[in-house]
């Protein structure tokens, strides 16, 4: 017996009926789904951050014993898993959900219900991964990379690992569905006049990210399926005793895993490319080269996966080393373009701009050290040490965090109609900037002094004590800076709506509509003759597209 949704007649101006839980559960509005994504991923981020603090607390002294060694394994495994799969990927999907349709002038994504399904699959998959903590054996503890044979049932019993595998597979399906949706949206739902090379760079970043998800996540899903079959149904993909190969996992995982780091950072590139031109009061320098750099990194990133496997002795080193060096070229083009955008601009140092500048610094520190480890001789020395941990926390974790905070201060007025406090924001920025470097720079030195990753305890006479204590101190300071941000958000949400439509003098279409946007996104649409429609409208180069009488009405057939 089919049921119907036709009995939802409340479509007066403003769209959705206002309501509670049911409204959020049934929403297909891309803005609401975006907010759901952002809130869920931030909650996961805070939880994973607490895990990191416990890990750091354990490492503050050589053998402190804050947690058991098994518990420590669970904590760092879940910290990595949650940060990469359940936070970094998904928070950008949330931002993309919210802002891509606005930036391309669409009323919604191409498949709104599929969009809702992506979110719910992501939520349930995440809960499944997390529910490992409730099982008898505890959560997964094979590291976020889940290498067999460690992750095989022979060495890791209990359902935590199975929940990890299946939960991530579900999140993977959610990501693929979400990617299809956003790619089709960007290809097909652009407002007339918005050609591909007039898209804002955030939308470009999202487009390339989602295309990469389409080609990177299926291998991950395949790898997870193989692992699940190995663990539960007696398959032997990764068991060398009967002809399998643990290296197969590493190949397939990293064929996903290396593009994944760009999947994480591309939306951040996009945010920075939006923020810097606005606050430097200049158009972005080298727009086309930015786009082609995205695609160059896209291509190259699929050809470098085995630089994670240099020390296995089973890969062709020169190829993967050369490709890894090459990938620094388009990345460098981007950094230079950001600098050239600021060159001789009239810069205003809002909190958002400060975070964008912080992003560039943190990203370059992380990126340059990445070029070092692309060289096999250096990688052989520092592989699996804290040097690598410091590298990816700088280039992926902290760079993403800075970009997200830049985006948060930039877009919060658009999303809520309220400003975040600039004063608190600036205090937060300087706290975070100091804290991040205090946390992660000592890790480079620890790595060079030979401290391996994933150990809970160490000998006191190795010269690691002071640096570890410093790093732990920094990590708690990071926690303080993030609490400041949370407080800032909470405080702002309780204030009245004071933000105008275009508080910063923005370039892209989201600044043309109201703050927050109506359900159908736009009451009116300017004629689009360049990549900066809001700028054109503000300066009088174009007018709002006339539509007979009054503002253009998108809700065709209703009035």
């Amino acid at each position: 017996m089919a049921t119907t949704e036709l009995g939802v007649p409340e479509v007066e101006a403003g769209g959705h009926p206002r309501g509670g839980l049911v409204e959020w559960m049934t929403t297909v509005d891309h803005k609401k789904i975006g907010i759901l994504y952002i809130f869920t991923s931030l909650a996961i981020f805070l939880l994973a951050g607490i895990f990191a603090l416990v890990v750091r607390a354990e490492l503050a002294r050589p053998a402190l014993g804050v947690v058991s060694e098994g518990g420590y394994n669970e904590l760092f495994t879940m910290h990595g898993t949650m940060m990469i799969f359940l936070f970094a990927n998904q928070v950008s999907t949330g931002l993309a959900n919210y802002f891509v349709p606005l930036q391309i002038g669409a009323a919604d994504v191409a498949f709104p219900r599929l969009n809702a399904m992506s979110y719910w699959l992501y939520l349930f998959g995440s809960l499944m991964v997390l529910s490992g903590f409730l099982t008898a054996g505890g959560a997964a503890s094979a590291g976020w990379t889940g290498y067999p044979p460690l992750s095989d049932s022979q060495f890791l019993q209990g359902r935590g690992m199975d929940l990890w595998t299946m939960g991530l597979a579900i999140v993977g399906i959610a990501s693929i569905a979400g990617a299809l949706n956003l790619v089709v949206t960007i290809f097909n739902s652009r407002v007339p006049g918005m050609t591909m090379f007039r898209l804002p760079l955030f939308t470009w970043g999202v487009l390339v990210t989602q295309l990469m998800i389409l080609f990177a996540f299926p291998p991950l899903t395949a790898a997870l399926a193989m692992l699940f079959l190995d663990r539960n149904f007696g398959a032997t993909f990764f068991n060398p005793a009967v002809g399998g190969s643990p290296l197969l996992w590493q190949h397939v995982f990293w064929f996903f895993g290396h593009p994944e780091v760009y999947i994480v950072i591309f939306p951040a590139f996009g945010i920075i490319s939006e923020v810097i031109p606005v606050f430097a009061r200049k158009p972005i320098f080298g727009y086309r080269s930015m786009v082609f750099a995205f695609f160059a990194i896209f291509s190259l990133s699929f050809g470098v996966w085995a630089h994670h496997m240099f020390t296995t002795g089973q890969v062709y080193l020169p190829w993967f080393s050369l490709m890894s060096f090459l990938i620094a070229v388009p990345t460098g083009i981007k950094v230079w373009n950001w600098l050239a955008t600021m060159w001789r601009g009239s810069i205003t140092f809002t909190t958002s701009m400060l975070y964008a500048l912080g992003f560039i610094l943190v990203f370059v520190i992380g990126g340059i050290t990445g070029v070092f480890v692309a060289s096999p001789p250096i990688d052989f020395a520092v592989n699996d040490t804290y040097y690598v941990v410091a590298h990816f926390h700088y280039v992926m974790g902290m760079a993403l965090l800075f970009a997200l905070l830049a985006g948060a201060f930039f877009w919060f007025p658009k999303m809520t109609g309220r400003f975040l406090s600039e004063r608190l924001g600036k205090i937060g920025f300087w706290t975070l900037f100091v804290a991040v470097n205090l946390t992660f720079f000592p890790m480079y030195l620890l790595g060079l002094r030979g401290m391996p990753r994933r150990i809970a305890r160490y000998q006191p006479d190795l010269g690691w004590n002071g640096l570890n204590a410093l790093s732990t101190l920094g990590s708690f300071l990071v926690g303080v800076a993030l609490l400041l941000f949370v407080w800032n958000v909470w405080r702002s949400l309780r204030k009245p709506r004071t933000a105008p439509d275009d508080p910063w003098g923005g370039n892209s279409l989201e600044w043309v509509t109201t703050s927050p946007p109506p359900h159908h996104n736009f009451h009116q649409m300017p004629q689009i003759i360049s990549g900066r429609p809001a700028f054109d409208l503000r300066t009088g180069a174009v007018r709002v597209a006339p539509s007979g009488e009054g503002p253009f009405d998108y809700r065709r057939g209703q009035t």
Binding site: T4, E5, L6, V8, P9, V11, E12, G15, P17, V22, M25, T26, V28, D29, G105, A106, A107, D108, R113, N115, A116, M117, W120, R159, D162, L163, M166, A169, I170, F187, V191, P192, G193, T195, M196, F197, L211, F215, F228, H251, R288, F295, S299, F302, G303, V315, Y316, P318, W319, H520, Q527, A545, P546, G548, Y554, R555, R556, G557, Q558, T559
Partner: protein
């Protein structure tokens, strides 16, 4: 050639070239297959979009023009239309519980592979029922339109909260 197709085809060319070079350097099958698949995947998508937009290309794209786009050279962007009146820009769908229910069903069914067959059956049941509800909703929308006329809305304010689909007509 449209810009989106050109971008995908460039990635595809990289995959095919890199895969071939890699094979002759390393004779390592797994990496070669992976790189060639990078050629095949975006290549398929790029060719599909090219085929899909062939009507536009016939009007605008000569062979030199196509090659220019593929090489990434800038082309003259047209100005946007002066009026959007004739464009079908947006029809918004109605809220729906089915995405939530289908996801829940799917997640429960997959967790059944860990905890027992009964969960698979239960979850699949929920997922299939939700899929049916989802398709039925789409069919109704195709038949009656996605939104009701405003005057009809005014007559039935009471039905407004029933987004769960529980009320049957």
């Amino acid at each position: 050639m449209s810009d989106d197709a050109a971008l995908l085809l460039r990635v595809s060319v990289f995959g095919l070239v890199a895969g071939t070079v890699y094979w002759f350097l390393s004779y390592e099958p797994l990496g070669t297959v992976a790189l060639l698949l990078l050629g095949v995947g975006p290549g398929f998508a790029g060719l599909f979009i090219m085929w899909h937009r062939r009507g536009e290309d016939r009007r605008t794209g000569s062979l030199p023009e196509t090659l220019r786009v593929f090489a990434g050279l800038p082309k003259e962007d047209p100005p946007g239309p002066r009026s959007l009146e004739s464009q079908d820009v947006a029809v918004l769908p109605l809220p729906s519980i089915w995405p939530f229910a289908a996801s829940l069903g799917l997640a429960v069914a997959l967790s059944g592979f860990i905890f027992g067959l009964w969960l698979v059956i239960l979850g699949l049941g929920v997922a299939l029922y939700s899929g049916w509800g989802w398709i039925a909703a789409v069919m109704r929308e195709n038949r009656y339109g996605r939104v009701q006329p405003v005057d009809q809305v005014a007559e039935e304010p009471a039905a407004g909260r029933d987004e769960t689909g529980a009320r049957r007509r």
